[in-house]
């Protein structure tokens, strides 16, 4: 691992409630459409990698944390009892608003 990564601080930690971006970029992104604008819970840090969107556009991209984020099917699709865990770059995520943090997945 590159030494710079050790000094980098991850914005989120397991247990944090996060909301995904609702942007629809023109370029290749690895925030799947069905997970846009949804609240989920960070379950694990899955390493550090340059943002896929940057690399798809020929840019080197800043290394950043990638997280396993777990969503309740009901939050993604309006119904269902299963969960879907998606791997998302830090730039796709914002802290969930206070009133959203109380909800259970």
């Amino acid at each position: 691992m590159h030494p710079a990564i050790w000094l980098m601080t991850d914005r989120f930690a397991p247990g944090d409630r996060v909301r995904t971006s609702s942007r629809d970029p023109e370029w290749h992104t690895r925030l799947p459409r069905y997970t846009r604008g949804v609240v989920g819970e960070v379950v694990e840090v899955a390493g550090h990698h340059p943002l896929a969107d940057d690399r798809a556009r020929g840019r080197s991209g800043r290394e950043q944390a990638v997280y396993h984020v777990r969503f309740a099917a009901a939050d993604l699709f309006g119904d269902g009892t299963h969960s879907v865990t998606v791997e998302l770059w830090e730039d796709y995520l914002e802290p969930a608003a206070d009133h959203e943090r109380e909800m259970t997945a």
């Binding site: 992104t29 925030l31 799947p32 390493g47 990638v66 099917a73 993604l76 299963h82 879907v84 791997e87």
Partner: protein, 196 residues
């Protein structure tokens, strides 16, 4: 944009670039094929089956595998470092309460270096789009009928990690040898679309 992968145009461009690189002496004739062969050499679902059986037989290995799969599979002589760089492997285990199933909704990410090429259904739009929405229904179509109270966890391989499922050990296999147990584990079991 996330789901557009028109194959004909990009395949033509890749062949064109390959030909130019060969013409200019930057790439040996057949070098790409050799690299792909090297990458796939040794990749087989048998590797996954060996890992699963070791986890069934050794609780310590099981726990280490779930905590740090990359380091732990080296204990049985396997690794995720077969490609240009080591890929992170995330292993999840089924139990009485929970069943796991893996998909890549954006393309077809799969631990190829470890398990070999993925099955064609894994790459199909039908599987990729439906298993996140209705996993119980899709698993039922695969012939896997889970109890109504089993929780289903779907893992979408949307970034850099690759995933593998440890199925539950079938009952009635107490006297089985390690190689007999390895013979029970299927590729579908390692993806989560079969019980074992």
């Amino acid at each position: 944009m996330s789901g557009d992968h028109g194959s004909a145009a990009i395949a033509g461009r890749v062949r064109h670039v390959e030909a130019l690189l060969e013409q200019r002496g930057l790439l040996d004739d057949g070098e790409i094929d050799r690299r792909i062969d090297e990458f796939l050499a040794g990749g087989s679902p048998i590797n996954g089956a060996r890992i699963v059986v070791r986890a069934w037989l050794d609780a310590g290995f099981h726990d280490r595998l779930l905590a740090d799969a990359n380091a732990t599979i080296r204990e049985v002589g396997l690794s995720m470092a077969g490609g240009l760089q080591e890929q992170r492997l995330k292993v999840v285990a089924n139990n009485e309460q929970e069943h796991n199933v893996v998909v890549c909704t954006l393309c077809s990410c799969y631990p190829i270096a470890l398990l070999g090429p993925s099955p064609s259904w894994y790459k199909s739009e039908a599987y990729r789009s439906r298993v996140v929405r209705d996993p119980r229904g899709v698993l039922h179509e695969f012939g896997l009928k889970l109890p109504a109270d089993t929780r289903i966890s779907v893992w979408d391989a949307s970034a850099e990690s690759r995933y593998m499922v440890v199925p539950r050990r079938p009952t009635g296999t107490d006297g089985f040898s390690e190689s007999e147990l390895v013979g029970l584990v299927t590729r579908k079991g390692l993806i989560g679309t079969a019980a074992v």
